[in-house]
Amino acid sequence: MLRTALREVSTALKEGQVSPTELCQRCLSLIKATKFLNAYITVTEDTALRQAEESEKRYRRGQSLGDLDGIPVAVKDNFSTTGIETTCASNMLKGYIPPYSATVVQKLLDQGAVLIGKTNLDEFAMGSGSTDGIFGPVRNPWSYSKQYREKCGQNSHLENEDSSWLITGGSSGGSAAAVSSFTCFAALGSDTGGSTRNPAAHCGVVGLKPTYGLVSRHGLIPLVNSMDVPGILTRCVDDAATVLGVLAGHDPKDSTTVQDPFNPFKLPSVIDVSKLCIGIPKEYHIPGLSSETLAVWSKAADLFENAGARVIEVSLPHTCYSIVCYHVLCTAEVASNMARFDGLEYGHRSNMDKSTESMYAATRREGFNDVVRGRILSGNYFLLKQNYEKYFIKAQKVRRLIANDFVNVFSSGVDVLLTPTTLRDAVPYVEFIKEDNRTRSAQDDIFTQAANMSGLPAVSIPTALSEKGLPIGLQFVGRAFQELQLLTVAKWFEKQAKFPILQLQEMLDHADALSHQKISLSS
């Protein structure tokens, strides 16, 4: 039951095959059994059960609110949630209880979704591993999968497990791990440079970044206002479309949401790709790309061609500058956005009280980790009067060049772009931390970043397992506000790829034996 798609579970709830409280309890048990993944910062057990009970009453009266009624969902801990601690995995906001909920969270709750918990992330969503938060790193569920352990000749000694586990990618690693390990049916992430798609690829789930302006950012604690987008993580494309249908649309509280009417859609079940033109950006073939990912990418291109689509090579000439451009724009906006954390109105406050300035500085030193402080410092440098033109304005000009690259490609007849999502499959944590956050982000964001720069919708689809038995994802980038077309193509591809289900049962049985609690993924 926990492994099924949203729509199927929804039907099961309507038909009474399972009740919302049962479903909620199973998810909560599974969360306890998979605690070592560290995917959740807060598990909202009491409120979730209460919400599940309310949902049950509605189902009994035959008045369910929709497809999401009674469905357990998780939310990344940088979305404000009324009455529930929202930390951004930072000491700055530890203990902070927002007095309001993010619009997207409220929309989920209004549809009857059951909020099962707040998920772990890199501090303030800065990072590509979900390793740099104060609650510790998130472990990729695939580290414990039958698929990986068989390939890597792992024996089942717990001691070995502990040093070789893999990262989830980031920064929405907790959300990706939560969806991947079946503890919820959908999760919210955020995507500024790839933070939803990157962990989706590493954890073998679908990660959708909607068009900038389609989904409200009100209540999403901002990183880069001109690039941030709430992301959706699910186990299949249909589910992503369902969740998008609930979240998208103009929000008067977020003036960067467009006013165009949004019509929720259901993806067709029969899809013909023969009239499509798929673009393969040649600049995305870089030396760091693993040969496995390259092979999977090639094979995918062939799949489309064999189905009658026109598959052509295209050029996005400014790709190689997108990371540098992002580095400047991101740090500049971060410098501005983080200025609100001064300890006065909310969040951590230092005991230093000699002056406001010294209190602010001490508060921020104590509250932020080095990554955040480093970005604030760099951002302020690029915004200095003497540097403004040379760095910030320059980066904004380069941004236009990057965005124009996409405009040119899409106006030449290409419908959707097909690219890798990440350079390779997930690496072990001990290897990942050998390089610093900035270096890693620069390497890992390479394929995903440009979509944020240009505001275009993009989705990562789990495609194949690597030689190590780990997920490899491919990314589709679509035209602005054309999520229907993007997800239709993605759904067709998902059907072709037949990506295998994560086999966790063996690991859970092992955990059972220790905890004497029977956890089962099957109905």
């Binding site: 302006g213 090639s298 400014h318 397992l465 030689e467």
Partner: protein, 146 residues
Amino acid sequence: MPSTFSQGNFPLNVESIKHTIDQNPEWQLEEQKPLPQKKVTMELLDHLERLALVDFRNWEGVERLEKAIQFADQLHEVNTEGIEPMDSVLEDRCLYLRGDNITEGNCTKELLQNASQTAEEYFEAPPGNIPLPKLEEHESFLQDSN
């Protein structure tokens, strides 16, 4: 049912794939040409600290900053002649502005609840108009407060 990309197909014979993707890589990641090392002066650091207030005036902060600047300098390779800066991808649209009517508020209690030091209905702050100490005084200043 075996997946389309199932294990049996690996390692793929790359040459045999009818490829649309050119098998030769396009460009190098992070090709950093050696640039004259930017010197971050004490004066600059003090100035930045007053703006940033992150208390990063140590060798680590300087090192990070210098690396960040070096990385950003790659931007100057790009020809942006005649290109307008882009603030937002929604620049062609007129964004929604609410009418100037009060629709919410009166939540003083909730807002004050999150602050650590309040007095009556005020947020309490330490005395202002005291400049941050300069770098030389910095170390002793911090020690005094602890």
